[in-house]
């Protein structure tokens, strides 16, 4: 419950504060958000599976974000930034879908 509250408070704060995104992190923010979403879905699935662990969640969340940003950074340096971003988004999207399918099986048993 507190976790859900944290999400809601974060969204509200982001909408209210509307901070200027620094130019340095600008290309990485969307990918980082998608990676974090992937980690959250994985954590939700683990919770439903009964194997949730906060340490694992924290590590996977942060490492997802960092690795995603790193890949985009590397892609930008190599000149294939857009393609790599697309690839990262596709992979994360597939993982989110599979996690969502597992969650759905748990919740709706279908």
């Amino acid at each position: 419950m507190i976790a859900v509250l944290g999400l809601v408070v974060g969204v509200v704060a982001g909408l209210l504060v509307r901070p200027e995104v620094p130019a340095v992190v600008e290309p990485y923010l969307p990918i980082a958000v998608v990676a974090a979403l992937d980690a959250v879905f994985g954590g939700l699935r683990a919770m439903l599976d009964g194997i949730f662990d906060d340490k694992v969640f924290v590590v996977s969340f942060l490492s997802n974000v960092v690795v995603a940003a790193l890949i985009v950074f590397l892609g930008d340096k190599l000149g294939v930034g857009s393609q790599l971003s697309t690839g990262v988004v596709v992979v994360l999207g597939i993982r989110i879908f599979s996690n969502a399918a597992a969650i759905r099986r748990h919740v709706f048993r279908a």
Partner: protein, 277 residues
């Protein structure tokens, strides 16, 4: 993965000793496969309600706060119209810039064409107005000559008193010719406008001008330069001397304002047509 499976189970049991009923435990022991779904759902419900403050919840809340914050910031900055270009890549920006340049060029061309068109229309309407103005001016000038409009200006008044009736049409015609030669622009005699086609002839005791009989005294009202008209009449052997030889009295008077208001109707010629158009 193996250590995960042990620990959450432990914690769940440890944190919720009272809320986990005994029955699911027994069921899960009996049938593991369907129990997994059931306990998953139950775990979700228990995680949501009632709210509990635990380390895991707080940590996840902090991370989710970061996620929600980043999500909202990204969505907000993406939906801002002015920052729509901020996330764009260099080649996209170059393409957009090219398109904008093309568009600017097209609009610039269109503007040039329209301005040219406007200028043409304006100059043509100016020309039409100028032509109308010139036509009106010419109409006035020709009207004065043809006697269809009244005229006023400096000039002279010549009065010929002829008590004995000796003045004849040719003498008045001489006077008119002399006035015209001296630059008279509009002439009327006793209320009859003298124009290009005016004729004078004798009729009884008087003279008729264009068929209108006039009697003495003959009053010429003439518009022209008075300094030219008066000497032209008074030259030795001129009009005044000739008339005085016939016992007539002639007085010439300069005036700054002579009004010639006798009019002629404008006549459409029956046969002659303008050849200019």
């Amino acid at each position: 993965m193996s250590d995960h499976e042990e620990r959450p189970e432990h914690r769940l049991r440890r944190e919720l000793p009272a809320e986990v009923p005994a029955a699911p435990e027994a069921e899960s022991a009996a049938e593991p496969k369907p129990e997994a779904g059931l306990t998953g759902r139950r775990r979700l419900v228990q995680g949501l309600w009632p709210p509990r403050v635990s380390r895991a919840q707080l940590i996840v809340a902090v991370l989710l706060f970061g996620l929600g914050f980043g999500l909202a910031v990204q969505v907000a900055s993406n939906s801002d119209s002015d920052s729509a270009l901020r996330g764009a890549r260099q080649e996209d920006l170059v393409r957009i810039l090219d398109e904008l340049d093309d568009r600017t060029q097209r609009l610039e061309d269109e503007k040039t064409g329209l301005e040219k068109q406007r200028q043409e229309l304006q100059s043509s309407s100016d020309q039409a107005a100028e032509a109308r103005r010139q036509t009106a001016e010419k109409e006035r000038q020709l009207g004065i000559l043809a006697g269809t409009v009244a005229a006023q200006g400096p000039g002279i008044t010549m009065t010929v008193d002829d008590p004995k009736g000796t003045v004849q049409a040719d003498m008045l015609l001489d006077a008119v010719q002399e006035l015209r030669a001296a630059g008279a622009e509009a002439i009327q005699v006793n209320g009859v406008r003298v124009i290009a086609g005016t004729y004078l002839n004798d009729s009884g005791k008087g003279v008729s001008v264009d068929g209108n009989k006039i009697t003495q005294p003959y009053v010429f009202r003439v518009i022209g330069k008075p300094q030219d008209l008066e000497p032209a009449l008074n030259i030795p052997g001129g009009v005044v001397q000739t008339l005085e030889k016939e016992q007539a009295t002639v007085t010439v008077q300069r005036s700054a304002k002579i009004i010639v208001d006798a009019l002629r109707p404008a006549k459409q010629p029956d046969y002659a047509r303008s050849s200019s158009q």
